[in-house]
C-alpha cells in the first residue's frame, strides 16, 4: 500500500511509530488522541512526507534543490542565505499538482465539516521528521501560522512550512554533517483553531520538588503564548491528583493576554475587572487534572502539557495542544541522593524516629 498523502490525527496510523511519515509534532498529536476519552485534541490532519515527496518530484523541485545547493559555497554565509531564499521561494510559489491539491482540499473540507461555527480557521505548522537534529527549531518546528482562512491560504501556508526545511542554518548544518538534503523530509499539520478563553501549561509533577502526586497548572486568559513565553505571571494551581483538591492557589494580576489577529497573534491588555479574576473555575481545574492524569498514564512518565479551554454558550471544552516529557525533575532525581530511609526498620522504630 502506498503511504497516504494526508492522515487525520485520530487515525490510528498517526502515532509515534510514524514519525518518518507525519513528523514528530503530528505523531505526538496522534498519540494524544489515543490517550483516552478525557483528552480532546483539536481535530486536524497531517500532510505527510509522502505528499511532500510527491510534490517536490512532480515539480522537479528535488533536482532544483540539489543543483542550487551544489553550486553554493557553504562556507559563505551570504551565499547560503541567497540559496535558502531561492529554494524557499521556489517551493512556496510552485502550485501543488491537481491530484495533491484535491487530496488536501478533501481533507480540509472534512475538517471544516467537523468544526462548528461560521468562521473556519486553521493553524498550519511544520512537523519535522529529523529528530536527530540537535536544535529542532531550525528544522522549521517554529513555523506556525495561526488563523489561516480559506483553502488558497492553506495551500500557501503548507508550502511555506515545507520550505522551512531550507533555512540557511538547516542547509549549513546538513552540509557540515554530510546529511543528504534528499533524505530530510517534512510533514505539515493542519489543525482547527481553538478560540481560547483561557490557556496555559501544566506539569503532571510538582516541578518544585518532584512530588508526582501533584499537577501544577498555570493559566492565563486568551491564547497560551503569553504563558509559554513567560511574558505574564499566570494564575497557578497545585492540585493533589488522587483527590483533586487544590492545595495551593495563586491568582496573579494578569495584565496582558495573547489574542488572535488576521494572520497570527498579538499581546493585548486585559481589562481591569478580569485582571484579578481566576482564569479557571474549580470545575475546570478538576477537568484539567483528569486530562493531565490520562496523558501521564498514556505515556507512563511525567508530562509537560500545553492546553487551551474554549467556551461557547456556557459550554466549555478543554483541548490539549501538545505534550512532552517533563525532564527537569527526572534528571535531578536520577542523579539525586538515595532515600534516607533504612530498609529494615520496624513500625515502632519508625514511630520513635518521629517522636
Amino acid at each position: 500500500m502506498n503511504a497516504p498523502y494526508t492522515l487525520p490525527f485520530d487515525d490510528s496510523e498517526c502515532n509515534a511509530d510514524q514519525v518518518p511519515l507525519v513528523g514528530g509534532k503530528n505523531a505526538s498529536l496522534g498519540e494524544l488522541v489515543a490517550a483516552g476519552d478525557a483528552v480532546t485534541v483539536p481535530p486536524g490532519f497531517a500532510v505527510t512526507t509522502a505528499f511532500y515527496e510527491a510534490f517536490l518530484s512532480a515539480r522537479d523541485l528535488d533536482d532544483y534543490v540539489e543543483g542550487r545547493i551544489a553550486e553554493t559555497d557553504v562556507g559563505d554565509a551570504g551565499a547560503v542565505e541567497d540559496a535558502s531564499a531561492d529554494i524557499r521561494a521556489r517551493i512556496t510559489d510552485a502550485p501543488f499538482p491537481d491530484a495533491l491539491a484535491d487530496e488536501l482540499e478533501t481533507a480540509w473540507e472534512a475538517l471544516r465539516e467537523r468544526t462548528p461555527g461560521d468562521e473556519f480557521e486553521v493553524a498550519v505548522r511544520s512537523s519535522a521528521t529529523a529528530e536527530d537534529l540537535p536544535d529542532a527549531s531550525f528544522a522549521g518546528q517554529q513555523d506556525t501560522y495561526l488563523n489561516v482562512r480559506g483553502f488558497e491560504r492553506v495551500k500557501r501556508r503548507t508550502r511555506e512550512c515545507m520550505a522551512s526545511l531550507f533555512t540557511p542554518r538547516a542547509i549549513a548544518y546538513r552540509e557540515e554533517n554530510g546529511f543528504d538534503h534528499d533524505d530530510v523530509l517534512i510533514s505539515v499539520g493542519v489543525q482547527a483553531m481553538v478560540d481560547a478563553r483561557s490557556s496555559g501549561v501544566m506539569f503532571t509533577v510538582n516541578p518544585a520538588n518532584g512530588d508526582r502526586s501533584k499537577v501544577r497548572i498555570e493559566s492565563n486568559w486568551g491564547l497560551g503564548e503569553a504563558v509559554v513565553s513567560g511574558e505574564v505571571t499566570p494564575d497557578s494551581f497545585l492540585v493533589d491528583k488522587p483527590v483533586y483538591s487544590v492545595v495551593e492557589r495563586n491568582i496573579s494580576e494578569k495584565r496582558v493576554m495573547t489574542v488572535s489577529t488576521e494572520d497570527g497573534t498579538t499581546e493585548a491588555p486585559i481589562e481591569d475587572e478580569r485582571r484579578d479574576e481566576p482564569s479557571l473555575t474549580d470545575d475546570e481545574i478538576t477537568e484539567l487534572t483528569d486530562v493531565a492524569k490520562a496523558i501521564e498514564r498514556h505515556y507512563g512518565e511525567p508530562q509537560d502539557i500545553e492546553w487551551a479551554l474554549s467556551e461557547t454558550g456556557g459550554e466549555h471544552r478543554i483541548y490539549v495542544l501538545q505534550s512532552r516529557p517533563e525532564t527537569t525533575w527526572r534528571e535531578q532525581t536520577e542523579s539525586g541522593s538515595p532515600s534516607p530511609m533504612s530498609d529494615s526498620q520496624s513500625t515502632a522504630e519508625r514511630i520513635l524516629d518521629r517522636l
Binding site: 502526586s213 493533589d240 488522587p242 483527590v243 530511609m341 513500625t347 515502632a348 519508625r350 514511630i351
Partner: protein, 634 residues
C-alpha cells in the same frame, strides 16, 4: 464573653499574654462550695508547693470530655480513671519517650489537663528502648490481642457489673435461708457494700482497658499522616483522612442497626410503619406494636439488637444525667421515624459501604503509584499498621464510653434507688452528686439505718447536701470556664496533646485572642477534616438530645459529636465542631457521607447561633459567619 470572669487583664507586665492562674479566677458566687464535691487532689492551689508547680505549667480545659461539668460520681470513670489509667499508659506501660503523663485538675466539674514531658536524654533513651519492644508486640499482635483478649474482657466487665445484685430495698427481716444455712446472721448489708465496691473496681478496670491500645492507635495514625506529608508534600488532611475512611468500626453499628430496623419495619408492613411514624411516646409505640403480629416481630428484632447496639450515651459518655438511648428511647424512635420517611420517599439511607471502600482503595492505589519502590515500602508499612489498629480509636469509644458507661450508670441508679427507698435520698439520680468515696459512706449509712431497725432515725443530711449540690452543679453548667490556665508554651510540641485534644500553638493563640476580646468574631479556623465548601443555615446543638430537630440541608454546629449523633449526618449539609481533630468522630462520619466538615474550631458553638448563615470550607478549615440570625429576621 464580656462578662467572663476569666480575662487576663491583670497580666503582670510580661511581654506575652498569659491565661489567669487558677487562684486568680473569680468564680461566680453560685459556685460557692463546689470544692467539697470533688476530691481534694483534683483541686488547684491547695498547698503552697504544689501551687508553685501548678503555676509553672500550662493547663488547658479538656473540652473534649468535659464540655459540660462532670458530676461528682461520674468523675470515677472520667478524671479519676484518667489520672491513673491515662497517665500510666504513657509513663509506665508503653513508656512513650517524650510524653511522660497527663496531670488532671478540676474546677467546678470541668477538667483541666497539663502534659508532662520528658526532657532528660538518658531517660528518653531508656524509654525509647522499652517503647520499641512493647509497642512492637502490640502492633504485631493487634488482632489477636484485641479480638482475643480485649473485647471479651470488656464484655466480661460489663456482664459482671450487670450481675451485681442490688436490692430495691433491704428486707424487713433477713430471709430464712440466712438461718437454715447459718450464713453468719446476714450478708445483705455486706453485699450492698461489697457490690458497690465491686462496681467501682470494675469501672476502673474498664478504664484500664480504655487506654490499652489508644495511644498506640493514635501513634500509628500519626506515623501514617507524617509519612504522607513527607512523601506527598502539601497533601491535605482530608486526603489523608480519605485513605483511612470506610473502616467497619463498631461505632457505626448503632446507626446501621437503625437502618436495618427501618427497612424491617417497611418489609413487615401491617401497622408497623404507621405506629413508628405516629405521634406517640416510645412506650406507647411499644405497647401498640405489641398488639399486632408484625409489631411483635418488629419488637423482637428491636430487642435482639438493643444490647449492645443501643447502649449509646447522650453526650460523650461522661455525663450520667444525659442518659443513654436504652434509658430513653426517644432518640432511636425519632431516628427510626425519619429513616422510614426517607425510605418511603424512595431515598437511600446509610452509606454505600462497598462503594466507599472501593473509592478509598482507588485513592490509595493512585498515591502508591506515584512512589518509587523504596518510598512505596515505607508507605505500605505505615498504612498497614494504621489500618490494622486505627479502628481501635473508634471501637473503644463504643465499648467503653457508650456500652460500658450505660451499664455502670444503670447499676449506680439501682444503688440510688436503694438509698431513696431507705429515705436517705430524694431521687435516685442524686447518687451522682456524691463522689465515689462519699457514695460508699452513703450506702454504709443506708445499711446502718436499716440495721437499727424499724423506726430508726433517718438522717436528712444527704438530701440537704444533694439539694445544695444540685444547685451548685446547675450553676456550674451555666459557667463559662477559662479555656486555659497559666503561661502558654511558645510552641505546643507534644504530639499527643495535638492529636487527641487538638491543642496546637495556633489554637492556644486563638484562645488568647478570644480571652482578650480582640479576635475577629465572624471567622473561625479549625481542621479541614472533610473536603467541600458549603453555605447554609447553622443549627447549633449543645448535646445529642434534640438533634432530630436538624432540618434537611442545615449545617450542624456542635461541641463535638459521638455515635449518638450519627443518624443525623445524612440530613446535614456539613458540620462544624468546637473540638476534635481530623480523627474525631465528626471528621470520620463526614468523610464517609461526603459532607464538608471543619473540626476543632475552639468556640463555634459560642460564636455561631442557630439561624446564622455560615460558610464552611472543609479543605482549608475556615468557617465564616456570613449573616447573623438577628440580621436575617428583619
Amino acid at each position: 464573653m464580656e462578662d467572663s470572669p476569666t480575662t487576663a487583664d491583670d497580666t503582670p507586665g510580661g511581654a506575652r499574654d498569659r491565661f489567669p492562674h487558677a487562684g486568680e479566677l473569680d468564680l461566680p458566687e453560685a459556685l460557692d462550695g463546689w470544692e467539697e464535691m470533688y476530691p481534694e487532689y483534683f483541686q488547684f492551689e491547695v498547698e503552697d508547693e504544689r501551687a508553685d508547680y501548678e503555676r509553672d505549667r500550662f493547663w488547658f480545659w479538656d473540652k473534649k470530655d468535659s464540655t459540660d461539668p462532670i458530676m461528682p460520681w461520674d468523675m470515677a470513670i472520667s478524671a479519676q480513671a484518667w489520672q491513673i489509667a491515662m497517665a500510666q499508659n504513657t509513663s509506665r506501660v508503653f513508656a512513650i519517650p517524650p510524653s511522660m503523663s497527663v496531670d488532671v485538675r478540676v474546677i467546678a466539674g470541668y477538667a483541666y489537663f497539663t502534659g508532662i514531658q520528658v526532657e532528660d536524654e538518658d531517660l528518653l533513651a531508656e524509654r525509647a528502648e522499652i517503647f520499641a519492644e512493647r509497642s512492637e508486640y502490640y502492633y504485631d499482635n493487634y488482632d489477636a490481642l484485641y479480638n482475643g483478649i480485649w473485647l471479651p474482657a470488656v464484655k466480661d466487665i460489663g456482664e459482671s457489673i450487670r450481675a451485681l445484685d442490688v436490692p430495691e430495698r433491704l428486707p424487713d427481716y433477713v430471709p430464712d435461708s440466712d438461718i437454715t444455712e447459718a450464713k453468719g446472721q446476714s450478708t445483705q448489708t455486706l453485699d450492698v457494700i461489697r457490690n458497690y465496691n465491686r462496681l467501682t473496681e470494675y469501672a476502673l478496670e474498664g478504664w484500664q482497658r480504655h487506654f490499652e491500645f489508644l495511644y498506640l492507635a493514635y501513634l500509628a495514625y500519626m506515623q501514617f499522616t507524617e509519612t504522607c506529608r513527607e512523601l506527598f508534600p502539601d497533601i491535605s488532611d482530608d486526603a489523608i483522612g480519605k485513605m483511612v475512611s470506610a473502616v467497619e468500626a463498631d461505632v457505626f453499628r448503632p446507626d446501621l442497626e437503625l437502618n436495618d430496623l427501618a427497612r424491617t419495619a417497611i418489609d413487615l408492613g401491617g401497622d408497623v410503619p404507621d405506629v413508628l411514624l405516629s405521634d406517640r411516646t416510645p412506650d406507647e409505640k411499644r405497647d401498640a406494636l405489641a398488639r399486632s403480629e408484625e409489631g411483635r416481630e418488629f419488637l423482637e428484632r428491636f430487642e435482639a439488637v438493643e444490647d449492645p447496639w443501643f447502649h449509646v450515651t447522650y453526650g460523650d459518655g461522661f455525663h450520667s444525667y444525659k442518659g443513654s438511648w436504652i434509658d430513653d428511647l426517644e432518640a432511636p424512635f425519632n431516628h427510626l421515624e425519619s429513616k422510614i420517611e426517607r425510605l418511603e420517599a424512595g431515598e437511600q439511607i446509610g452509606r454505600d459501604f462497598d462503594a466507599l471502600q472501593e473509592e478509598r482503595d482507588a485513592v490509595v492505589a493512585e498515591y502508591r503509584q506515584y512512589l518509587t519502590p523504596d518510598e512505596r515500602e515505607q508507605f505500605d508499612q505505615a498504612y498497614e499498621t494504621c489500618m490494622t489498629i486505627y479502628e481501635y480509636a473508634e471501637n473503644h469509644q463504643f465499648w467503653i464510653e457508650n456500652w460500658l458507661h450505660t451499664i455502670i450508670f444503670g447499676k449506680m441508679r439501682e444503688f440510688g434507688r436503694l438509698a431513696v427507698n431507705h429515705g436517705l435520698l430524694d431521687d435516685p439520680e442524686d447518687v451522682f452528686l456524691f463522689d465515689r468515696f462519699e457514695v460508699a459512706e452513703l450506702l454504709e449509712e443506708v445499711c446502718e439505718t436499716w440495721a437499727l431497725g424499724e423506726g430508726a432515725f433517718v438522717t436528712g443530711r444527704w438530701c440537704d447536701r444533694a439539694t445544695e449540690r444540685r444547685r451548685v452543679f446547675e450553676a456550674a453548667k451555666e459557667w463559662d470556664p477559662a479555656p486555659a490556665l497559666g503561661d502558654p508554651p511558645e510552641e505546643v510540641t507534644d504530639p499527643l496533646m495535638q492529636m487527641l485534644w487538638g491543642v496546637t500553638t495556633e489554637k492556644v493563640e486563638g484562645w488568647l485572642d478570644v480571652e482578650s476580646d480582640d479576635g475577629d468574631t465572624s471567622r473561625l479556623e479549625g481542621f479541614g477534616s472533610s473536603s467541600g465548601r458549603v453555605e447554609g443555615r447553622a443549627h447549633v446543638f449543645t448535646d445529642a438530645k434534640n438533634i432530630d430537630e436538624l432540618e434537611d440541608g442545615e449545617i450542624l454546629v456542635a461541641p463535638l459529636t459521638d455515635p449518638a449523633w450519627a443518624p443525623v449526618f445524612p440530613r446535614a449539609k456539613g458540620a462544624v465542631t468546637d473540638d476534635g481533630g481530623i480523627t474525631s468522630h465528626a471528621a470520620i462520619v463526614c468523610r464517609e457521607y461526603g459532607l464538608p466538615a471543619v473540626t476543632g474550631t475552639g468556640h463555634a458553638t459560642s460564636l455561631i447561633e442557630t439561624g446564622d448563615r455560615i460558610r464552611i470550607d472543609g479543605e482549608t478549615g475556615e468557617v465564616e459567619i456570613l449573616e447573623k440570625a438577628a440580621a436575617t429576621q428583619d
